[in-house]
């Protein structure tokens, strides 16, 4: 069974055309986040939305985490990106189906991160219906404790295996570049969906947890999913570069088309000279 995917080629083409700007924007965003994390700690991801919408409601708190711990987190974040991309060896552009062992590490990382996203997806929804650390004892569902209990850990393991199987189905029989693109696509979609659910809930429920923002499920989710979203964009941009190279190697006219587009103003990339 393979996944029938619609044709995203035109969208990818536009992104590839502006990949320089995308990389510059990405590096700028990463640099800003690193500075923010050093000053305010990881809470910056939850509070950033409030700085943007109602800065008067935010009381900046200095990071309680040590410098070396923060450094270790940032290095780990970058290393995980590298391991995801090169964990199974150099990316092959040959277009042949890739062997399973070349994808094993990437698959394991994708499944593990998807487990984190799946688990944290419950937090903003619980916050929305006032069940996460609710002030009223009768309504309270202690999700944070449930997630680290034995049933929670078993559920996480089951979820990890399910994501592994799903990931394996998605990449089976495809070439290395397509396989990695699909895995990163799943992570991008997962973290984006989580972000788009947590953000409006956090904005609407802020009055409830104004005095202690970290007692909010949506706030915690933002703290987790924004770094994950940012993490997933890095490999996606790298794979965009590899895709362009693959296209250029496979079709010499692709390079000519790019050259023409850059040389003759207004000329469509899809209409090479006769």
């Amino acid at each position: 069974m393979t996944f029938p995917l619609p044709d995203f080629e035109p969208a990818l083409e536009i992104l590839a055309r502006h990949r320089g700007w995308l990389v510059a924007g990405y590096l700028l965003a990463v640099a800003m986040c690193i500075v923010g994390v050093f000053i305010f700690g990881i809470a910056i991801f939850g509070d950033a939305v409030h700085y943007a919408t109602s800065p008067e409601d935010v009381e900046p708190v200095e990071s309680a985490v040590g410098l070396w711990t923060t450094m270790a987190w940032i290095v780990g974040w970058v290393v995980l990106q590298a391991v995801f991309l090169w964990g199974g060896g150099r990316i092959q552009l040959a277009g042949e189906p890739v062997r399973g062992r070349r994808l094993a590490v990437s698959l394991v990382i994708m499944a593990a991160l998807m487990v984190v996203l799946t688990a944290t997806m419950l937090l903003p929804l619980a916050e929305m219906v006032d069940r996460f650390l609710s002030a009223e004892p009768a309504r309270r569902i202690d999700l944070s404790r449930a997630l680290i209990s034995w049933p929670g850990l078993v559920a996480a393991m089951v979820s990890w295996v399910l994501w592994l199987l799903l990931g394996w189905q998605a990449v089976r029989g495809t070439d290395h570049l397509t396989a990695l693109s699909r895995l990163i696509g799943v992570l991008l979609a997962g973290s984006w969906i989580e972000f788009s659910v947590a953000l409006p809930i956090e904005l609407a429920t802020r009055p409830r947890t104004k005095e202690c923002p970290c007692a909010s499920g949506s706030w915690l989710t933002l703290v987790i999913c924004i770094p994950l979203l940012l993490w997933a964009v890095g490999p996606a941009l790298y794979l965009l570069y590899r895709r362009e190279r693959h296209l250029t190697e496979g079709n010499r006219r692709h390079a000519l088309k790019i050259l023409l587009r850059k040389s003759i103003p207004g000329r469509s990339p899809s209409a090479p000279p006769s």
Partner: protein, 293 residues
């Protein structure tokens, strides 16, 4: 095959969808603000209602015209903190609950409610009898009777229901657009006699408008579902979290389904639009080359 009408229809649908989403944003901002005021008004009313109850643990249920069936009892509203919780069942079946904050000052209640009534845009709040029940009834009536008209269907809905309807319509509009674009893409003519800046705008400002329109189509369902989640969360706060677990599960499931389906529909519709744009630009290029040749 005559595909021009399909493209024309897709264009009209996209305009309707964007109008609906714009209304949704406006409605959500207003509703979040109104819910904040309503929440405060309910707390003021609840505090006035239980005043003088003394040490008794509960108050009998009574029917208050314009408000609903009211009951009050002392509950553990926070760990190690007991306070009065006032529960109201309105005539329309909807319920709300307010916890009385011990710090409430009785002397300022009328002024607070008058300020809320003015903020909610009630006509001449000063002319309403200067007592808490009358002011509160006017505020509650305003929240009960308010309706929002959804463009495209011209039906009026309650402000807490309208975001669900708009999110559903956004998904529907996108599916209709995708279907129509599919028919246009199947046609050899690519509906060339029907202009649409999104698929034709090639240079300068036209290109900017096309990009903006495309981004708006892509973002529409995300915004619509975001508005829905925000209004639902805010409604839970203002109603004092009186919903039952099955209803909450249903709402969470439905909103997640809307987020995922809407996102997928917008991605594929935008992708189809980009494909059509590329094909039409190749065709236009050929036409121009033929003209100049």
């Amino acid at each position: 095959m005559k595909s021009s009408s399909y493209l024309s229809s897709a264009r009209t649908l996209s305009v309707l969808m964007l109008l609906a989403v714009y209304l949704d944003i406006d409605l959500t901002r207003g509703q979040l603000e109104r819910n904040g005021w309503l929440n405060e008004a309910r707390q003021v009313y609840a505090a006035a209602y239980v005043e003088g109850a003394g040490q008794q643990p509960s108050m009998p249920q009574i029917d208050v015209p314009g408000v609903g069936q009211i009951s009050a009892k002392k509950e553990m509203v926070r760990p190690n903190y007991e306070s009065w919780a006032v529960r109201v069942k309105r005539v329309d079946g909807r319920q709300w609950r307010a916890v009385v904050d011990g710090r409430d000052s009785s002397s300022l209640r009328v002024q607070r409610l008058q300020r809320i009534a003015a903020a909610l845009g009630l006509k001449d709040p000063d002319k309403i009898d200067g007592n808490v029940p009358a002011l509160f009834r006017a505020i509650e009536r305003d929240s009960t009777e308010r309706k929002v008209t959804v463009p495209g269907v011209d039906l009026a809905f309650r402000p807490d229901i309208a975001p669900w309807i708009i999110a559903l319509f956004t998904l529907g509009f996108l599916l209709l657009m995708r279907n129509q674009l599919g028919r246009v893409l199947m046609d050899e003519d690519l509906a060339m006699d029907e202009p649409w800046i999104v698929v034709d705008g090639g240079r300068g400002l036209e290109r900017l408008v096309a990009a903006g329109w495309l981004i708006a189509i892509w973002a529409a369902p995300w915004v619509a579902s975001g508005c829905l989640l925000a209004v639902f969360s805010s409604q839970i706060i203002v109603d004092g979290a009186v919903t039952t677990l099955p209803r909450e599960l249903l709402a969470c499931g439905a909103s997640l389904v809307l987020v995922v389906l809407g996102g997928w529909a917008s991605l594929t519709t935008t992708s189809d639009l980009l494909r059509l744009r590329r094909l039409r630009q190749v065709r236009l290029e050929r036409v121009r080359a033929g003209d100049s040749g």
